[in-house]
């Protein structure tokens, strides 16, 4: 299927944007920036989907990922020591192996893309992508779609149980001690024991 020149140019720019921002996710110091780079990558892929006539999916990418990455950025700020990237940082393990695995995945999948002989069956003329998606979701594949909905509901329940403060045996942090700063040392990050409070670790 031949696309007009404008579409090809747009695809090229978006592809470069998607890959560069995806790569920047893992080599920026600022964690909040990293999550928004990921958002840029998603948006670029969403626009490519729209160029491919998947109009609903492309737009769905925008709002799904905007909210997801917003939440991601909030968690970054909550959990990372350096969300703003004011200090350089590189937090990786098994770096060589990972690079190897990434390159290998690209080479194998790219090889499949280049060498395999996929059938050429473009979209039929007069197809309405949004209508056909809607009829599929609420027609033949309704069971799949509804199961996805039920699984999402289950996830919500499970997530609330996992993350909630209170469990069947009391608070979530009950009985758990943060690890010491040195092996066998005092728990880190605990408030100083007050006079006569039930704690027994006094300053030596």
């Amino acid at each position: 299927m031949d696309y007009p020149l404008g579409v090809d140019i747009a695809f090229l720019l978006l592809a470069v944007l998607a890959v560069v921002s995806a790569w920047r996710v893992f080599c920026t110091d600022s964690m909040v920036r990293a999550s928004f780079f990921l958002l840029v990558s998603f948006i670029a892929v969403g626009v490519i989907m729209m160029l491919l006539a998947a109009v609903y999916l492309g737009v769905a990418m925008f709002f799904m990922m905007a909210v997801e990455m917003m939440v991601m950025a909030l968690f970054m700020v909550m959990f990372m020591m350096n969300p703003a990237g004011l200090n350089p940082m590189m937090m990786v393990h098994q770096h060589r192996l990972s690079i190897g695995a990434g390159v290998a995945a690209f080479v194998v999948l790219g090889g499949v893309a280049l060498l395999a002989d996929f059938p050429v069956r473009p979209l039929p003329a007069g197809l309405e992508p949004v209508r056909s998606l809607g009829e599929e979701m609420l027609g033949d594949s309704m069971l799949i779609f509804e199961s996805a909905g039920v699984v999402l509901l289950t996830t919500m329940v499970g997530v609330v149980v996992l993350a909630s403060h209170r469990g069947r045996y009391g608070g979530a942090a009950e009985g758990s001690m943060p690890p010491g700063l040195e092996p066998g040392g005092e728990p880190a990050g605990m408030p100083e024991a007050e006079e006569g409070g039930g704690h027994h670790h006094h300053c030596h």
Binding site: V59, F62, F63
Partner: protein, 310 residues
């Protein structure tokens, strides 16, 4: 072809944007005068003077901000407003982009606006700006949900996600009558998303200006313009989703659209002056406990009506 598909739509959106933003500033000054706030100079020249003054001011700098994000955020917010205006139909054929999923695109504009506003407050590397950004994210999620349910309710009778179809489906009766809950909910979302008037919690005075507390000079001008532009885009979407867009007797379509947009704009600005302010945490409860269930009711209403009529 390029002129028809690229230049004309861009020109149309830009003209609407400029005229709309100026009108927002003028009407807001009139209202302020009518409510007894002393106004120096005429309402027509005031916005221009303030704009020119901001242009000549020095752009403030904080300690180690995220420069790219900080400077980009106001421009991105303006771009989102332009995206919203681009899907608003002026007549059956006069639409900048007549996307088949334009209603969903407007929904994603709202979602992306949350990101941009967070970025604006976060990147300044200042305390009050950050608190404002967090406030907006907490509230923004509820705004997005409410507006999505309300817009799905509008899309149901049209059996389409396209704003032109939504308008055409209101030939017999406007959605504001068919779904009476829709427009009020949508207007509140509009005030919230542009943090205008009583719902100005992200840039609130109790935070010394919130996300914009450290912004001055030209970036401040862009930020203010972008907020007004978002309000214009909102009134355009509200007019076509609930007030029948270009439909109306005697006058040509685009003129009707203009009248309706202006009416919504005036109502929004008036609400901005009349509604009482709410504390952020109360606003949060109000959104999730009262307005979100109301939007469910609206959707249910629309769904039952669609079943009965279909």
């Amino acid at each position: 072809m390029i002129i028809d598909e690229l230049v004309l739509p861009v020109l149309m959106v830009l003209m609407t944007l400029v005229a709309g933003v100026y009108l927002v500033a003028v009407i807001d000054r009139w209202l302020a005068g009518a409510f007894g706030l002393p106004q120096g100079g005429s309402a027509w020249l005031g916005p221009l003077r303030r704009g020119a003054w901001l242009l000549t001011q020095h752009a403030n700098a904080t300690e180690a901000p995220d420069w790219q994000a900080w400077r980009l955020a106001p421009a991105l917010y303006l771009a989102l407003a332009a995206m919203g205006l681009a899907v608003v139909p002026w007549s059956a054929t006069l639409v900048a982009t007549d996307l088949t999923t334009s209603v969903v695109l407007w929904g994603s504009v709202e979602a992306l606006a949350t990101v941009v506003i967070f970025l604006h407050g976060w990147s300044a590397n200042a305390l009050f700006a950050l608190i404002g950004a967090y406030r907006y994210v907490a509230l923004g999620l509820s705004y997005i949900l409410i507006s999505m349910f309300v817009l799905i309710g509008v899309a149901l009778p049209a059996e389409s996600l396209q704003f032109t179809q939504v308008v055409t489906s209101q030939t017999e009766m406007w959605n504001v009558v068919r779904q009476p809950l829709g427009l009020p909910l949508f207007l509140i979302v509009g005030l919230g998303m542009t943090f205008w008037g009583p719902l100005n919690l992200a840039d609130a005075d109790d935070l010394a200006g919130g996300t914009a507390s450290e912004v001055s000079g030209p970036p401040r001008l862009v930020w203010d313009v972008a907020r007004a532009a978002m309000l214009v885009a909102f009134s355009g979407v509200a007019a076509s989703a609930f007030l029948g867009g270009w439909l109306g007797p005697w006058l040509p379509g685009p003129l009707w659209m203009l009248i309706k947009m202006l009416a919504v704009l005036v109502v929004l600005l008036l609400l901005g002056w009349l509604l009482p302010r709410v504390a952020p945490e109360r606003c949060m409860t109000l959104m999730w406990v009262v307005l979100l269930p109301l939007s469910f009711v609206d959707l249910l209403w629309a769904g039952i009506a669609a079943l009965l009529n279909g």
